[in-house]
Amino acid sequence: MQMEKIVSCRAGDHYYKIKHSSGLLILLYPKEHCSTTYAVFGTKYGSIDSCFRRSDEEHPETVPEGIAHYLEHKLFESEDGDAFERYARTGANANAFTSFESTCYLFSCADHLYDSLEILLDFVQSPYFTEQSVAKEQGIIGQEIKMYDDDPQWQVMFQYLRAMYQKHPIRQDIAGTVESIAKITPEHLYRCYRTFYNLNNMALCIAGNLEVEKVLELCDRMLKPSAPVMVERVFEEEPQEVLLSKTEKQLSVACPLFQFGYKEAVETGSLRSERELAVMSVLLEMMASDSSPLFRRLLDAELINEASFGYEYFEGAGFGTVLFGGESKDPQAVAAMIEEEVCRLKREGLDHAAFLRAKKSVYGENISALNSTGSIANALAGFTFKGRELFSYLDALAELELSEVQKALNRVFQTERTVLSVVRPIS
């Protein structure tokens, strides 16, 4: 077992990175004076992993959409009852989520940490699926899918991704479809479980009022060593061009919602570094935050409102896009105004004062996030699964140069690679 202490002078915090002999990566972020502890046990396995190749097999395999999410639901059940019932005895607030690239099981607690941690480590390592229990979940997940069918924000986002990407599995809904989940069998679940829930592909991240020794003792007792099998994600090559530059649908809404953005050219399966991420955070803050000229113009033209307007650099394995979204009476006009601003900034160059201000603002937001045990544990997991380190990101932010930001603007924002997705009221 190797242990490394990672320190940030900027944040005044530290955490431990441990490669456990079972193969599991463990990140422990002690915050002695907190009253809570937040634990995340996750696997690098999300909705985009529908085609994969195991290192002990020759050929790649494709499985139905929605399996990662289905597994998340079913793992809560084991032969001797369900995990929620076990947590009920410790009082921990437990949950789980599936994203595009990971599945995480988590809890937050004010006491009985080690009892709850034992439950977490146990149930995630104890799959139990039967025909009957798999069938029962279809009604529940079916309703979850239908809830998202009526959620205009979810719809405008997936419509955007499906217009932007031609091949990448980011196009697929995280929960799958009512049709695809009907095809899921216990065998599929076991197969994906045994492939992705290998401890070498997983991480345990805990932040809060914890004792490192005690956590590690429990891990020694509970972790079942995994065979050294690695798993490779298999992606088709994604063209640089978008599939459709405009896409829209009608839903029961009172005003149109939009998502507009640029497709970044990235290599198949590749990930961005801490520095690249920091560059994009500062760039977007400069371009579209409340204090930017663009935001002001959009607001004065009555094209957006503060409550709904937002922006994001959304990226992962083999995909990257900058997107702007919200509600607007005229989404086309919003897109035109953003385009115009991009051209102006490319032509005139980014403003140095705005750069310094944006850096301070992003720095403050990141320091603030280190208050909460939940946001720390989730950030550790998110960074780890994307091959990044949390404090290096803070350092990268501080060291950033304006020229890098300008370069990113020129590279990522390409007019011929935009998508405008709109959800309109039913006419």
Partner: protein, 420 residues
């Protein structure tokens, strides 16, 4: 562990401090309580965002936002909510603590002076009015917020249920007033409305996180504001006729929102909170285990307790053809609880979950503020830890007796129909 400390400033202004250097941030908040009425809801509702749009030193939105960004992404927030028969208007500032400020700014001074300037010296024109362009901007955004609330069908169903349940009562007034009332607002009336609000509100002030509490600073500023006001829970009728409203919309999933009124004395609040947790507040509750897990009827079915309004809600999203069955199943689970069919394990699980939530409060500045605000009607303030201790002593008989005082008051069905 630091304590939540009260500093009464006057009969109408109370300050609570919870300061602790383990936080990397601070927050200063002013919450104003005023009785809600159809006549003034829209007027008062627009004011927090209007006064915080700009200040004399930073006279437009971009300049003010720029200043906040320079202060390491600090925020100046406004909010409006409803608690029982009160409209609660909030203004707050938050930011990183001074020890992280790269240029050694005194963050507490910077942030408190920003907050004071929007509260006591908001930007006005030569005629003494708020700036017309700011007014128009806020009015438009509030009207658009109404559209946003319709877009979110879970929220929409909940709001409609509340409206139906409290029809004709002050508690049924929207926190921002209606669309028509917002559209009819007059700029000339708002300056006086703000002065009236400052004069007649009950104030709760919070100093939270990594900062030095300076109650004297606030004592000076708030000395002459506010009106002493005894804040009370919404009265609950002794009997009522349940109401039912159904609306149809082209949706994939139908929403069921059931409203109940619960008559409890202030000292019984904790028992009712526990009863709510047993019924539908946690994954080990009756609703989650039966309506979702056993019957597979839905993805979510949960209950929530709104103490200020003495109300309880049960909400779910289901297939249209299962609306009736789900409603029956919810009532069945409630009747089991009323008949005393609750196991020691169910009771213990609910207690553990609630205790965990209470013991977690001190880890978040917002949670501390919410804890205090939501206990504003209590005769004596109780800390989260003291509540947690008292909670563990509540008996099964008390929970069952509480369940028997839950009165069905309203059902709102949002029926999904046809193709989208």
């Amino acid at each position: 562990m630091s304590e939540i400390t009260s500093f009464p400033i006057t009969e109408s202004v109370n300050l609570k401090a919870f300061t602790d250097s383990r936080f990397k941030t601070m927050k200063i908040a002013v919450d104003m309580f005023i009785p809600i009425s159809k006549l003034t809801a829209a007027q008062y509702g627009i004011l927090p965002s209007l006064v915080s749009r700009a200040t004399k030193d930073y006279p437009d939105y971009t300049a003010l936002s720029g200043r906040l960004a320079e202060l390491y992404g600090a925020s100046l927030d406004s909010g409006v909510r409803k608690m029982g028969t009160y409209q609660v208007l909030s203004l707050s500032v938050s930011g990183i603590s001074s020890r992280y400020a790269l240029e050694k700014e005194d963050m507490f001074r910077e942030l408190s002076s920003l907050l004071f300037s929007v509260l006591f010296d908001p930007l006005k024109n030569a005629e003494g009015n708020f700036l017309p362009e700011h007014f128009e901007q806020e009015k438009r955004q509030l009207l658009e917020l109404k559209d946003t609330e319709f877009n979110d069908k879970i929220l929409y169903a909940h709001q409609r249920c509340e409206e139906v349940m409290f029809l004709g009562e002050p508690a049924g007034v929207d926190r921002y007033g209606s669309k028509e009332e917002i559209a009819a607002l007059k700029l000339e009336e708002l300056s006086d409305a703000w002065d009236e609000l400052l004069k007649s509100s009950r104030y709760e002030i919070f100093l939270l996180g990594d900062c030095e509490p300076e109650p004297s600073l606030f004592q000076d500023r708030f000395q002459n504001f506010g009106a002493p006001r005894k804040l009370n829970y919404l009265p609950c009728p002794s009997s009522l006729e349940p109401r039912r409203v159904t609306e149809e919309l082209p949706l994939s999933q139908s929403k069921l929102s059931m409203g109940f009124r619960v008559n409890f004395r202030p000292e019984e609040r904790l028992t009712f909170q526990l009863m709510n947790a047993v019924l539908g507040g946690t994954p080990s509750s009756k609703l989650f285990r039966n309506v979702r897990e056993k019957e597979s009827l839905c993805y979510y079915c949960s209950s929530s307790f709104d103490a200020g309004s003495r109300a309880l809600y049960v909400e779910s999203g289901v297939e249209t053809e299962n609306l009736e069955r789900t409603e029956q199943e919810v009532l069945h689970q409630l009747s089991l609880l009323q008949a005393g069919e609750v196991t020691e394990e169910e009771l213990h699980s609910a207690k553990m979950a609630l205790r965990n939530a209470m013991r977690s409060v001190r880890d978040s500045l917002n949670a501390v503020e919410n804890w205090c605000i939501s206990r504003i009607f209590e005769p004596v303030f109780e800390s989260p830890e003291a509540s947690a201790e008292r909670l563990m002593k509540v008996t099964k008989e008390e929970v069952v007796s509480a369940a028997n005082r839950v009165m069905p008051a309203a059902v709102f069905c949002l029926k999904g129909c046809g193709e989208r």
